[in-house]
Subunit: 702 residues, 2 copies
């Protein structure tokens, strides 16, 4: 798909230079040094020959075509270089030059213009303001980063060239091979999504690593990532997650960072392994690139010392995995050999004077044992320890059927042993906790791969009815939909709402109240009044005709006094809901990822305790249930302190209906049901109060 970019036969370097240290020189040098088998065309009007290659003065005059054109000329000359490349037949262009969107509005405009130019000719554009790209399996380094790394299974997508370099340098240290490394820079055309797709299809890529400061098209990202992660693991470090980080990021690739919560929800939803920091990114990648996926989360710890074994045990439990006990068989095989018998659920201690055989025997037993899913092997240098020999023995004991991760702990003493392990795909981590965290990423990804298919229920609803209400609001320029009409919309999507009717006078209000039964609530209806209770436009628990009459007269009087300009349509008289547990369902549309559902218990739980959970719509039934159980106050829903629980699946159902509603109507920008009143199992939740805000971008006529 990105063949001309990733596997070009001819690469032109526009801005090739004779001066070492200049970008145009270094790219050319990198291309030559890596042993590229295709044709390299340096373009420079003032040179005949650079680094032994004949120069072309103007690419448009070059005969024989070109697949990829790498541009490093100064900003004012980039546009001409792009045109020249297109004219010469380039199918892909990489612009290394910086100084576009990230600097000035004019730079942004120029960037858009160039992108349009390329798009018109179906030429794919990488950058600008990027590090270029490397494809080890094509012996191609068309980047500013020196050296071609050893070939392997890790592909890198990075918004920062420096991070590409750091990852390459780190991979060399860990003896890990790389497949493709791409600096995506300002993403004027090609984005992380294009490369996720390309690397998913790429046979050489086993693991995809990403460093991102922004995501270009959130909902597409989620869709693509979900497909990609079903085949290959994707680990992403999303930087710029704090206010400070965002300020720093805004001056970099000119990107606008999305809401933090939304990124969390998007990664969870699409099976992307999220790295909180740089080490976790690399550690997870190491484990994923070298180890098979575990069948479960029971971890055997083998250690030649108690202390680090205890640290590992702590880390295993803290990360939500389980410490494995070797089953009877495994234990028996080892019983004669291991001095201190391990007790159920404790690390296997091969003691300080562990000889090579003992380590080997313990690792083999753990790999054979059906009650072990993964192994962590720890070594500290002790008097009798032979780190290098032990490393060799351990490496030779690896079967490859279960993940085995090592933590050789120390410094100088253990350095010589690492190479041997790394060469045999046995990754080493410098502390027990780091090994556990890396294993955790493996386990999480394995669980994602085992997930049941996601089925989003489509409920039968009255969609036309909602369309009409929304259209009517937008036609009259109203984006706020108050309680009464919001309930009509929710009712059309299967929600139970209290019976109620409009009244224009106190007499009518009493008549309505008599008809629907007491107690009633009374609410002013006006497009100008959003905060009803502040304006005196809300009365609850009116229990007889006199109270209704008084409330209605008083309400109309107050509104005339306080908000004389408000256009009053009447008062809404509504049967009071019977009391129950109050929950809140909300939605707002994240600019990157689209509709984000929110759930929490009413009142202080949302407002003071911030005890809420989020999920991207559309959601499946299990995800809706998960939203409930993710709140800290969940126990109040399931029942506690002698109170019976509420109908959980009825709430989950409500969340799914909201999910369907906001997916059906992209005009809905925000929605709040606050509260939804829920009661014991078998009862219908009732919408006590609701409001909807439209985005005002006009109705989609589908």
């Amino acid at each position: 798909m990105l063949e001309p970019l990733l596997y070009p036969k001819t690469v032109a370097v526009i801005g090739a230079s004779r001066t070492p240290g200049k970008v145009g020189h270094d790219i050319l040098a990198n291309l030559i040094d890596c042993g590229f088998k295709g044709q390299i065309v340096p373009v420079n009007p003032n040179a005949d020959c650079i680094l032994g290659l004949p120069c072309c003065a103007e690419l448009r005059n070059h005969k024989g075509g070109v697949d990829l054109s790498v541009i490093s000329v100064p900003v004012p000359m980039v546009r001409a270089a792009v045109e020249s490349s297109i004219y010469a037949g380039a199918k892909a262009i990489a612009i290394i030059t910086a100084g576009f969107r990230e600097v000035t509005p004019e730079g942004a405009e120029l960037e858009r213009e160039i992108a349009r130019l390329c798009a018109a000719r179906k030429v794919r554009l990488l950058g600008p303001n990027c590090a270029g790209l490397i494809n080890t399996h094509h012996l191609m380094n068309a980047s500013i980063i020196p050296n071609l790394p050893p070939a392997g299974g890790i592909s890198v997508i990075s918004q920062s060239g420096a991070v590409c370099t750091a990852i390459m340098d780190w991979a060399a240290r860990r003896h890990l091979g790389l497949a493709k490394v791409v600096g995506i820079g300002n993403k004027a055309d090609l984005t992380e999504i294009d490369f996720l797709e390309a690397f998913a299809a790429d046979e050489q890529t086993k693991v995809i690593l990403g460093y991102l400061e922004s995501i270009s098209s959130g909902d597409e990202f989620v869709k693509v990532a979900e497909t990609v992660t079903s085949a290959k693991p994707v680990v992403i470090l999303k930087a710029g997650t704090t206010q400070a980080g965002m300020r720093a990021s805004a001056s970099h690739t000119g990107s606008v960072a999305g809401s933090e919560v939304a990124y969390g929800a998007a990664f969870k939803r699409s099976g992307v392994i999220r790295a909180d920091n740089f080490e976790k990114l690399l550690d997870a990648a190491t484990a994923l690139a070298t180890q098979p996926l575990p069948k479960g989360d029971r971890v055997a710890i083998i250690s030649n010392a108690f202390g680090p074994g205890i640290m590992a045990a702590d880390a295993v439990e803290q990360s939500g995995m389980q410490l494995a006990a070797l089953a009877q068989g495994g234990s028996t095989a080892l019983r004669g050999k291991i001095p201190v018998l391990e007790r159920a659920g404790t690390p296997i201690n091969v003691l300080g004077d562990a000889d090579l055989e003992l380590y080997g025997a313990a690792i083999e037993a753990a790999q054979e044992d059906d009650s072990v899913d993964a192994v962590i092997v720890i070594l500290t240098p002790q008097v009798m320890t032979q780190p290098a020999e032990t490393a060799r023995t351990i490496a030779h004991s690896i079967r490859g059927n279960k993940p085995v991760l090592a933590a050789f702990i120390g410094g100088e003493e253990i350095m010589p042993s690492l190479d041997e392990m790394l060469d045999r795909n046995l990754p080493d981590f410098p502390s027990p906790e780091r090994a556990v965290t890396a294993l955790r990423a493996l386990c999480e990804y394995a669980a994602w791969r085992r997930r049941p298919p996601r089925v989003v229920t489509r409920f039968p609803v009255h969609r036309r009815r909602v369309e009409r209400i929304i259209a009517r609001h937008l036609r009259t320029g109203r984006i706020y939909i108050g309680d009464v009409k919001a309930k009509e919309i929710l009712h059309a999507y299967g929600f139970t709402v209290p019976e109620g009717h409009m009244a224009l006078t106190a007499d009518e209000a009493v008549e309505v109240a008599n008809r629907i039964g007491y107690p009633v609530a009374m609410k002013i209806v006006s497009p100008n009044i959003i905060h009803k209770s502040d304006a005196g436009g809300l009365k609850l628990r009116l229990s007889n005709p006199e109270d209704v009459r008084d409330a209605c007269d008083l309400m109309l009087l107050r509104i005339r006094q306080r908000m004389p300009e408000a256009q009053v349509e009447g008062v809404y008289v509504e049967r009071m809901c019977s009391p129950g547990r109050e929950v809140i369902i909300g939605m707002n549309r994240d600019p990157q990822f689209g509709p984000m559902l929110m759930f929490g218990l009413g009142g202080i739980f949302v407002e003071v305790m911030k005890d809420v959970s989020f999920h991207l719509a559309p959601i499946a039934a299990e995800e809706a249930m998960q939203m409930l159980s993710e709140t800290r106050s969940y126990a109040l829903l399931t029942g506690t302190r002698g109170r019976t629980g509420v109908d959980l699946s009825a709430i989950a159902n409500s969340l799914q209906r909201i999910s369907q509603l906001v997916t059906d109507f992209s005009q809905i920008a925000e929605l709040d049901i606050s509260p939804l009143i829920v009661r014991e199992v078998g009862t219908e939740p009732v919408v006590a109060d609701a409001r909807i805000i439209l985005s005002g971008v006009g109705l989609n006529h589908e």
Copy 2:
């Protein structure tokens, strides 16, 4: 104080062996190899000479005395070796041999016996089951760990020999010097507390590092640690914090781990820097050993690339520190040199082609700038980067007035540059986030050193009254103090309790109610009834004489029916408290650390949301206020959603009074005020219900 142990002139090795690999051989070899200047006495009845030193057959026959005796003979011979050492005049004994308390009850008994033997002669005992000790400034390695590390300022106290070894090996890699390294093993006599004191007094020690699985005497630890940390930083990794870790730990040094919450409270209280994992332990030690303390938490980030700069900015904000903006002066000095001007509160970017001067200028500007407290300098290897030269330039720019931490990120490329930095006390961390975490430890410790003096208020109370109530309970074998007597105790310590009196009959109850005024509560009083409401022994909000009479008759009837054996002393008629916000104050006595206070809001906040805070008693006023603000529901106390706040200092006051009560009376094992009713500022909190449980160990007659 531990002079004979840490600075012995003569060291005997009982169990010295000719066979390499045997512990008795290795210890002797280590002592000889490290260049020990004192006398070494190998003890072995079957050898004349080992490793060139003449042997002594029996230490008791050795002429000329001995300061330290190191014992590595098998368990059955240890007792005799100890006696022999004492006879020969040893002032300190280190038992390396394992197989005592950690293995069998007999081992535990033998260990106690040996400890008694030593104590009787005022001989200090290290171990058993320990790695021995190292004192680099005395050129002494009396341990099983090979090599004498370079001398420096870090001293290590560890319950695991393997952890000692790992730390030594790691320190060598980081070019950090060590002062003392002690494996404390089973702690039969000398514990972490002794070594905290010794290292606090030790001129060579600048930083104390601890690996602990248990703490021997919690309250003494807190007292000693608070003094030590006021002079030198103490960083401790407490392992065995999870169920899994505790199981693993129990089989190690035979220690019983204390409550997790208590450790957290104890470390907070005593200024100990707590490391969650092994890397944090080492990273914090590195920063503390090499850097000056910062005056505040404003961090300047200098980076040659945006990506890692953003990661660092994220980490700074997440850890609660602030990103510094260079003040006008600093910026001007740099303005001509730095290509992209930094904006306020963003990392200072010296760009990918940063030359050495630019790095140097940026670091100097940051060190001069009054709005910067600490500097993090980041380098990623890029085309033009010269890591080694940059390292040198940076190292030369260090003034030593503010902490400067480096994060050179990558692998192979940056390896050569590290040594130069390390040698100049510029610590390097492998990721931006690790550098930030290490800096955070520095900042925290600096804040601890700046803390105001802790003043624990002593309130005037009626202590004798409480003594009498407790004595009376214990005399009659009752450890449960119910609501009525608990309120008497609390009243004696200055709490407001509702007016109330005992009644024996319904007539009396009505009489009491009429006197104190309605509404009243009525509570059964019986030493046998703990859960009053379950037994039908609690009635609330009785508002007239008839209700009181009915309730009393019914209560006495119910109790006779449900608990015929209960000894009923009467009913307690009490004025109902006016409603307010309900909070809970609790105390239980941690086996390690003593009285632990708990605070939380009543009802679901404690029971469902587990929203509680803890602090060790006694507490000062600020600590009490901190207990309030540490709860997530704090906003409900300060006022929110249109409700006015409650009297915070009145609650803090109550916490301090409870602190005084439970410190005065060690017989109080548990105490609960549930709830304490608090209202607006200026009102007294009222104890609505309380109970106290005594430990039953008898009254201290002071």
